[in-house]
């Protein structure tokens, strides 16, 4: 029974991974791609690791999978934030149909 729940978690995680990578291809500029791919791929991989934890239980590899989930949730948003800041400072423009860019205005004032 618990193995079937593990398979369901892995399949859902793979589906979110697939949607995130589809977003990486379809969306129009760096920031939108960063949003779609970071959210979907991080939670999808966490779901796969949780499926592994359900398979193994509280053995060595199960607890390592839980630690790996904590590492991923702590580090993936930080690296996304660093890439977004670096891209904006290096001068990548937003998409043409974007509504507003308050950061650009404030950078000019400084």
């Amino acid at each position: 029974m618990i193995e079937i729940i593990g398979y369901i978690f892995i399949a859902v995680g793979l589906m979110f991974d697939f949607f995130g990578c589809l977003g990486l291809v379809r969306l129009p500029d760096v920031y939108n791609r960063l949003q779609a791919s970071t959210k979907c791929v991080t939670l999808g991989t966490c779901s796969i690791l949780f499926g592994l934890f359900l398979f193994k239980g509280f053995t060595a590899s199960g607890i390592k999978a839980l630690l790996c989930i904590v590492f991923l949730i702590l580090t993936a948003p930080v690296s996304a934030h660093a890439i977004a800041r670096g891209a904006h400072i290096s001068g990548v423009k937003l998409w043409d149909k974007s509504v507003c860019d308050k950061y650009e205005e404030d950078k000019k004032e400084m």
Partner: protein, 164 residues
């Protein structure tokens, strides 16, 4: 000194997780390495170690986790809907958000929560005046106060009780 002791116990906890069936060889090596790490980098870990003694903060952390996980799942379905739609219903832009958190840890957790919740991504932090620049996938309001209420209205009071 207190900060070093806290870092020592955290390092021992992570080491126990990495070498789970505990035996005395792994634990003795772990204690030596944790003492070394706590001695070298302990004073950078936290500036206000007395905050670790309040049990109320741990309960608020337990209250915060389910809300955060629920928002994560909602964010994933939102992004999957927008990506799979043939017309790409997005309306992006960078807005400004005002926060009243001051400490480093609180700001870091606030930025991480913003990045993992529906349609928002933190781009930069202005720590002196408390402004966050947030890239929003579907801009509903450009005004600072309304955007603040829509984006971080759910997290900020709880994070304030945990980290401030």
């Amino acid at each position: 000194m207190k900060s070093r002791i806290i870092l020592f116990f955290l390092a021992i906890l992570v080491w126990l997780g990495l070498t789970w069936p505990p035996d005395w060889q792994h634990i003795s090596i772990g204690i030596l390495v944790a003492i070394f790490v706590a001695f070298m980098t302990g004073d950078m870990f936290t500036k206000r170690p007395h905050l670790f003694r309040h049990p109320k903060r741990y309960f608020w952390l337990l209250y915060y986790l389910p809300i955060f996980i629920w928002e994560c799942i909602k964010a994933n379905f939102d992004v999957a809907y927008r990506v799979g739609h043939p017309d790409l219903p997005i309306n992006p832009g960078i807005v400004k958000v005002k926060t009243s958190l001051k400490s480093d840890t609180g700001l870091t957790f606030l930025a991480n929560s913003i990045t993992l919740t529906p349609g928002t991504l933190s781009v930069d932090v202005d720590q002196e005046e408390g402004f966050l620049y947030v890239h929003w996938l579907n801009v509903k309001d450009k005004d600072i106060e309304k955007a603040t209420k829509l984006i971080i209205g759910r997290f900020e009071p709880i994070l304030k009780r945990i980290f401030e």
